[in-house]
């Protein structure tokens, strides 16, 4: 028994699989600077370009025919259009349609970044990078949304926009506390938007990488042990399916929350 164990343990120099955090590292591909600021073209920039390029290619070829009876691609594009349009109309009302291009772009951008991040890397050819797994990107998008809310809110309502912090029907002695709470909750919006997307992408990709790492390690062990690799393999398949759902869901959540925050600016005091 002991000899079997040691025989099995012998070939156990596990191959050096890449660590689960390596996939998030940013490498400079082409140096570029604006004044003193380093804005080099990196693998992150490359994958932003790929996502945007994929969106442009898909939507421009889907809408080229402008057919009355849509083809397959045009149907998908129209489903997405109606999906986001209904979301905007439902959350903000007809007046919100002026923000429709923004919400649509946001949804497609995040959705494609999330989905492209799930493509497996091909060693020596491509190294997949998920742009939305970085807080800088998600926080940037969240701040863009909040900036639009603040600017449009003051532009449309003037100082009346501040009524956002003063819910109606609150007894006066409670008002200072409520205003404070509302203000803090407003400040936490961009953070929660940014961290929700970033953390979902980060966690999903770490789990995928760890499970995939198990497969490599177990296969590398050789012999009977390699057979166990089927379990982390099945786990990886299951988590990949789950992550596909999460990729869509997080894009949707980001878009719908953007709509809800924009609604505060459009219909201030109606909540």
């Amino acid at each position: 028994m002991n000899s079997i164990l040691s025989a099995l343990a012998l070939p156990m120099h596990l191959p050096q699989a890449a660590g689960p955090m390596e996939q998030f590292e940013i490498h400079r591909l082409a140096p570029l600077s604006l004044g003193n600021i380093d804005v080099s073209f990196t693998n992150s920039s490359l994958w932003m370009m790929i996502a945007t390029g994929a969106a442009v290619i898909f939507f421009s070829s889907a809408t080229r025919a402008r057919a009355l009876i849509p083809g397959r691609m045009q149907s998908i594009a129209e489903v997405l259009y109606n999906f986001v349009a209904d979301m905007v109309r439902g959350a903000i009302g007809p007046e919100g349609m002026k923000f429709f291009p923004y919400v649509f772009t946001l949804f497609i951008y995040i959705l494609l970044a999330n989905l492209l991040g799930l493509l497996p890397s091909i060693p020596g050819v491509s190294h997949t990078f998920t742009t939305t797994s970085h807080i800088a990107v998600t926080f940037g998008l969240a701040m863009l949304t909040i900036a639009i809310v603040i600017f449009y809110g003051f532009y449309k309502n003037g100082l009346g926009f501040l009524k956002l912090f003063v819910p109606s029907g609150v007894p006066p002695w409670l008002l200072p506390l409520i205003v404070l709470i509302e203000f803090v909750s407003f400040l936490s919006r961009p953070l929660s938007l940014a961290i929700r997307l970033f953390a979902n992408m980060l966690a999903g990709h770490i789990i995928l990488k760890v499970f995939a790492g198990f497969i490599i390690s177990l296969l590398g062990a050789g012999g009977v042990v390699s057979a166990i690799a089927i379990f982390p393999f099945l786990g990886t398949v299951a988590i990949t399916l789950l992550e596909l759902l999460v990729a869509f869901l997080q894009a949707y959540v980001f878009a719908i929350l953007t709509c809800i925050y924009l609604n505060d600016a459009v219909n201030v005091g109606h909540h």
């Binding site: 699989a17 955090m21 932003m48 923004y102 800088a136 790492g213």
Partner: protein
């Protein structure tokens, strides 16, 4: 045994997690300007293309289809209205024809009935005249017969009396006796 291997593999992976690259790459602030810069460029480019080309195209196609469908529905409603009108006209024509037929039938029936009635009246009249004439003749024959019976009875009575008492009664006496006998019989009857 497999547990051991799994644990070793897990430890390996976890070790990578701790030592891999030295900290979270997301917390490397030196990459932030580049990320934000390219985010703005790609997102801005996509927004521009979406808002100026793709979404108007998509929205226009959807709108056009909706108009077309609405038009087709309008046409269908118009055709339906026309069909209903035609049906109503047909129904009223049918009702007219039916009413006309009914009046014609009723007129014809009334004419025939009047004719039958007049013919029957005529026949009744003829029959009544003939019956009256026949009855008259019958009455005349009955009177004649009864006079002849009385004469015969008087003759027989006269003959019988003359044979019995050898005396010929006066005609008046015989006649009165016969009349008395007949009226007595009739009273007894």
């Amino acid at each position: 045994m497999p547990i051991d291997v799994l644990l070793i593999a897990a430890a390996e992976a976890a070790g990578h997690a701790k030592s891999g690259g030295g900290g979270l790459p997301q917390m490397d602030f030196s990459t932030y300007p580049s990320q934000i810069f390219w985010l703005l460029i790609t997102f801005g480019g996509l927004y521009f293309l979406m808002s100026s080309v793709i979404l108007p195209r998509l929205g226009g196609t959807i709108e056009e289809r909706r108009d077309r469908v609405a038009d087709d529905l309008d046409h269908a409603a118009e055709f339906r209205r026309q069909a209903e009108e035609a049906e109503a006209a047909y129904n009223s024509a049918l009702a007219d024809a039916r009413a006309k037929a009914q009046t014609m039938a009723a007129e014809t029936r009334a004419e025939v009935e009047a004719e039958i009635a007049s013919m029957q009246q005529e026949a009744d009249l003829k029959a009544a005249t003939q019956i009256a004439a026949a009855e008259e003749r019958l009455n005349a024959m009955k009177d004649q017969a009864s006079t002849k019976v009385k004469e015969a009875a008087g003759d027989v009575a006269k003959t019988i009396v003359s044979a019995l008492i050898d005396e010929t009664p006066a005609d008046d006496t015989v006649k009165a006796a016969v009349a008395g006998a007949i009226s007595g019989r009739e009273a007894a009857r």
